[in-house]
Structure formats: C-alpha cells, structure tokens
C-alpha cells in the first residue's frame, strides 16, 4: 500500500508538433508510505495538479507525454508491484479507481449535473466489479452513510440539491467506493468554507486511519498542509524545491521559496502584529521559469546570486529535524 515515483519527467507542449515543450514535472522523486498523508504545496501553475493527473495517466495525450520514470504501486489486493506507466490501456482502466483514486478539485463541476448521485456512485462499482445492481446500490448507500450523508434519502438526489460540502463528500465516497490502495486529493477544500473544509479534512483523516491508505494531498494552502500531512513537498515550476517533515518544514523553512510562501500569509499566532506590510514574492510564475540551466525560482528569489545560474540538484540535509530534509538551493549550506 505504498507508492514510489522515480525520476518522473512529464513534457507539456504548446502544440501537437512537439514544439515549445516544457517539463511540468522534472525528474521527480516522491514516495508515500502506507497510512501516510503527503502534501504537495505550490502556487497555481507550478504543476502540482498536473502531477496528480499524470499519476493516473489522465494527462491530455495530445499535448503532453511522460518521457521517463516509473510509478510503482504496492497494493494488498495485488501480489506484485505494479508500474502504472507500463500498463496497457485496458489494464489502466482497471487500475484507475481500484489502485489509485482521485478526488477532483471542484465538486461543482466534476459531478454530472443530470445524473442522480447514487447512480454516479453505482456506475463506478458496476464498471469494475461483477455485482448485481441491488448489491451495488447497497454498497453505495453504506459509503454515503460513512461520509455522514443519509444514504437512503439522498441516493436519488441530484448534485444541485446538495451543498458544496455535501458534494465534496459525495466525491470522496465515489473515490473510496472501490477501496483503492491510494488516494490523490486535488485541492479538496479550496472551494469550501472554513467550517465545511474542516469537516472534509477530518473525513480524509478518518479514512486514512481506518483503511490505512496512502494519500497525496495537493493544496496551495500551507496551513491546510500543516493540519493534515506528515510530510510536505514544496513545488515550484515542476520541481521539488524543498521536502521534509511538515512540522519541521513550516517551523524552520530553508529554501527561499518556502520562506517567502510562509511569510506572505498573515498568521493567527499570538505574536503576529496586524496591519504590518505583508511580505510579497515579486512577479508571478511564467513559462520562462520552466527553462533549464538555472534555478527555476531565480527570477523571483530574494537571495539570488551568480551561483544560481546553473542547474541545481536536490540535495539532502540532515539538519536539526528528525527526518532528512531535501532542499534545492545552493545558498543553503546547512541549517
């Protein structure tokens, strides 16, 4: 029940003739253990959602391709390790939802508006398992119940009859109904309110505890990452800038990008002074940041220097934290 991503490179091209390509994921290493929540944090456009799609091989084929790497999944129901990138299309359909499942970002647009929610869930069960309609319905109802939705009365509801939080819980029920080994949650709380997003976070935490599956939690909010994950990867322009134990990383950030991200959010802690000027990262993420031959954060970094104008590897540090920390910055020698 673990996932291991080795040296994954995904190319995204401006047109189908493979010109103007950028690496949205650039030789990426990522591991998630059994029962572990790993969050991926970054700005929009940094390629974090694209990574989620690539793991399921749902990336648009016309304009993108996975050029190298392997995505190995260990699962209880399977005897051997499976490399998702080596599956043929038929096997892949079987794997999606069963091995790896995904909660999509916006529950308002990812549910089918003209289908009852119960039908949408049973559809997934019937497509994957040889069960009767009656059995499938029972499973769907019980899964809805476990998401704190009254399964019996809500089975025949249409998405428009539900609130945003309920829709998101239906999405989670749909993702969990095939008992996958691994879950990818792509910004599940972004479209939600404070109180409802907390409910969704609790639900994901419950799922992790009960079924002990690995979860990749994609978010742009460091505070959400802090509240749910064991380890965090900070993403920028398709590269991991920093990774490590979530608590360590947030209390003691090393990479300039992580530092800037944390500083630019007003905090609720007692020693925070309101009305001060917020720290800002100048400019915004552009296509040029994806170019090779320099640190990708170079154009916006407050610590930049001449030595940053070369390809910078991800180096390991065993600093003050318990677990090792990986940082992609030449300026950070030790901390």
């Amino acid at each position: 029940m673990s996932i291991e991503i080795n040296n994954l490179t995904v190319e995204l091209c401006a047109d189908k003739h493979n010109a103007n390509c950028i690496n949205v994921a650039d030789s990426l290493f990522l591991t998630v253990d059994e029962g572990e929540v790993v969050s991926i944090v970054g700005e929009s456009g940094s390629g974090k959602s694209f990574l989620g799609l690539s793991i399921l091989r749902l990336n648009p084929l016309r304009i993108s391709k996975i050029t190298s790497g392997e995505i190995k999944i260990k699962c209880k129901s399977q005897k051997t390790e499976i490399d998702i990138l080596k599956l043929n299309p038929d096997e892949l359909i079987g794997a999606r939802g069963r091995l790896v499942s995904m909660i999509f970002q916006d529950p308002n647009t990812s549910l089918n508006p003209v289908m009852k929610i119960g039908e949408q869930i049973t559809e997934a069960i019937i497509a994957h398992k040889k069960v009767s309609k009656k059995e499938a319905k029972d499973t769907a109802v019980s899964y809805l119940n476990s998401m704190n939705i009254d399964g019996k009365s809500r089975f025949g509801s249409y998405p428009y009859e539900l609130s945003g939080g309920m829709r998101q819980r239906v999405m989670i029920a749909m993702a969990m109904v095939l008992e996958p080994c691994f879950l990818i949650a792509d910004e599940p709380t972004t479209a939600l309110d404070v109180t409802t997003s907390l409910q969704v976070l609790k639900l994901i935490e419950d799922i992790r505890e009960k079924s002990n599956i690995g979860v990749i939690f994609i978010t742009h909010d460091l505070t959400v990452a802090r509240s749910i994950s064991d380890r965090t990867y900070v993403f920028y322009a398709g590269q991991v800038m920093e990774s490590g134990n979530t608590g360590d990383l947030i209390n003691n950030p090393a990479h300039p990008y992580t530092i800037s991200l944390i500083k630019s959010v007003p905090s609720l802690s007692a020693d925070y002074v309101p009305k001060q000027k917020l720290f800002t990262i100048p400019g915004f993420l552009t296509k040029d940041d994806f170019s090779k031959g320099k640190c990708r954060f170079y154009s916006r970094c407050f610590k930049r220097g001449e030595e940053c104008l070369k390809d910078i590897p991800l180096s390991s540090f065993t600093g003050g934290g318990k677990s090792g920390r990986d940082v992609r910055c030449v300026k950070v020698k030790n901390f």
Binding site: E43, S44, G164, D193, V194, T195, T196, S197, L198, L201, K202, E205, H220, D221, L222, T223, V224, R226, S227, I228, G247, I250, S260, L261, I262, S264, V265, P266, S267, L268, S269, Y272, P274, K275, K277, L278, F279, T280, I281, F284
Partner: protein
C-alpha cells in the same frame, strides 16, 4: 448621529419569497438579511465574516442599492441613502470591488475604457478618447501597473493584474466607502499578499472606509479594525478585532476561530 459615522445601517431586512410548486399558495420566505444594524466609521476597515449563504453578499447588494430592501433604513453620512436622488450622487461615493477578477471585467473592452467608464458616466471627465486614456494611465500608476496597459484587453493580464484594474476602476470616482467582496479569494498566495498591501496602502493614502467581506479570519486579523460576524442573516457579534480574537463572546464566533487552520494547527487539532 455622530459625525464620525460614514454609513449607518439600521434594522435592515431582505426577505425573498418563493413557491415550492407551481400551485403553491403559501408564502414561503427566506430571510436572507434579517434586522441587521451597524455603523461604519470614517477611515475604518469593517470586516463582515460568515459562511456561504449567511447573507454577506445580500447585505452588500442592499448597501449598493442593487436589490430592493424589504424594510429598514440605510444612512450615508446622516442622510437617507437613495440612489435615485440625483443631487446627492451617492453612486459616486460608494463603490464595490468584486471577488472574481476573471468575470468582472468586460472581455470586449480595452482596459482604459473599463477604468474610465465610471468617471465618464459621473461627469468627471469628458467622453473623449485622449482624455479617457490619460485618465486611465494615471489611475493605473496608482495601483502599480504600467501605463502601457491601457490599450490591453483583460485576457492579456494575469489574475493579480486584473484585480488591480478592478481596484483602479473602483477608485476612478474617488469613493468614500469601498465594499470589498472577498477581494483575494480567487488569487494565489503570493499575489494576494501584493493586493492586500495595495489595499491597505490606498486606504491610508485616500482616507477611505472599507467594508471587507470575507470568510478568511487570517485576513480579518491582518487588516480589519472591527469585525461583524453574521450567521443565517443575523448579526451574531460585533467587536473590535483584538477583542474578537482574544476573547470571542458568541459560541458561533468561538467555533469559527477554532476551525481556522493556522500554522500552529496540527493533526491533533482536527
């Protein structure tokens, strides 16, 4: 009424009627805003906090006169707020900044037209292309955009730049009260910090009042002077920001503060 008060809302309500079926003769009523009263002071940032559906946006619509109120009264500087009163020009004095910069700018119009339109409508400048471009260029400088942006279309700008254009448009008629309807919730972390700084700056420079509608308590703590918590169309608590965060009184305020994920919030808190 104190001289310091810029906007005074007294016992205002907005009830929506609806019918469950075509032949329904009962009058079902949703009380979107129900008996709300508060004052906004000069040079103050007044935050309105609450969940989706609590009536925050309806309240802002009522203040802007975009929807008829059911009952109650709104006073602007001691005078009843009536947008049909041509002499008073209330339209010029109260403006709104919308939540989503992607849908609040007309995609067919160039930036200079978008920014100068309120000024032309209100008779501040003449409707001549040269005047409008000059006017827009100056406003753009104030919000930290280059003057050459005037001839661009909205789709050529990023989210943060669009929100700046939105701000420039609000300020083009020099309002005294600005309603900010979740101004940064559609923006990225790093961009939202830039916009928040700009808004705080402009408030100091121009001496405006803000009604800051949001559901993010971190921003409230950062910017606001006073906080008003709404739930189900009613006000639960009005307090100074410091008092609100140090010692919330209403149970709902306590839940809100508790459920805020912050940097010190770990899995044990869930």
């Amino acid at each position: 009424m104190g001289e310091n008060i810029i906007l005074s809302v007294s016992d205002i309500s907005k009830h929506y009627k609806y019918y469950k079926t075509l032949f329904d003769i009962r009058k079902n009523v949703i009380k979107a805003v129900d008996g709300v009263s508060f004052d906004v002071l000069k040079n103050e940032i007044f935050a309105v906090v609450g969940e989706t559906g609590c009536g925050k946006s309806t309240l802002s619509k009522l203040i802007l006169g975009l929807t008829e109120k059911t009952s109650g009264e709104i006073y602007f500087k001691g005078e009843p707020l009536d947008y049909n009163n041509k002499k008073k020009d209330f339209r010029k004095k109260i403006q709104i900044l919308f939540q989503d910069p992607y849908s609040s700018l007309n995609p067919k119009k160039k930036i200079y037209k978008i920014i100068s339109y309120p000024a032309v409508k209100n008779g501040i400048i003449k409707n001549k292309k040269r005047d409008r471009i000059d006017f827009a260029a100056e406003r753009l400088k104030n919000v930290g955009l280059s003057e050459s942006t005037v001839s661009n279309y909205p789709h050529m700008l990023s989210g943060g730049q669009r929100q700046r254009v939105g701000i420039a448009r609000c300020l083009s008629v020099q309002p005294e009260l600005l309603i900010l309807d979740e101004p940064v919730s559609a923006l990225d972390v790093s961009i939202s910090a830039q916009i928040l700084n700009l808004l705080a700056d402009l408030q100091k420079r121009n001496g405006m009042s803000y009604i800051f509608i949001t559901h993010d308590l971190k921003l409230v703590r950062h910017l606001a002077d006073r906080v008003c918590v709404m739930y189900g169309g009613k006000i639960m608590e009005i307090a100074k920001t410091e008092d609100f965060f140090n010692a919330p009184v209403h149970p709902y305020s306590k839940t809100l503060i508790k459920s805020m994920t912050s940097m010190s919030f770990t899995r044990q808190n869930l």
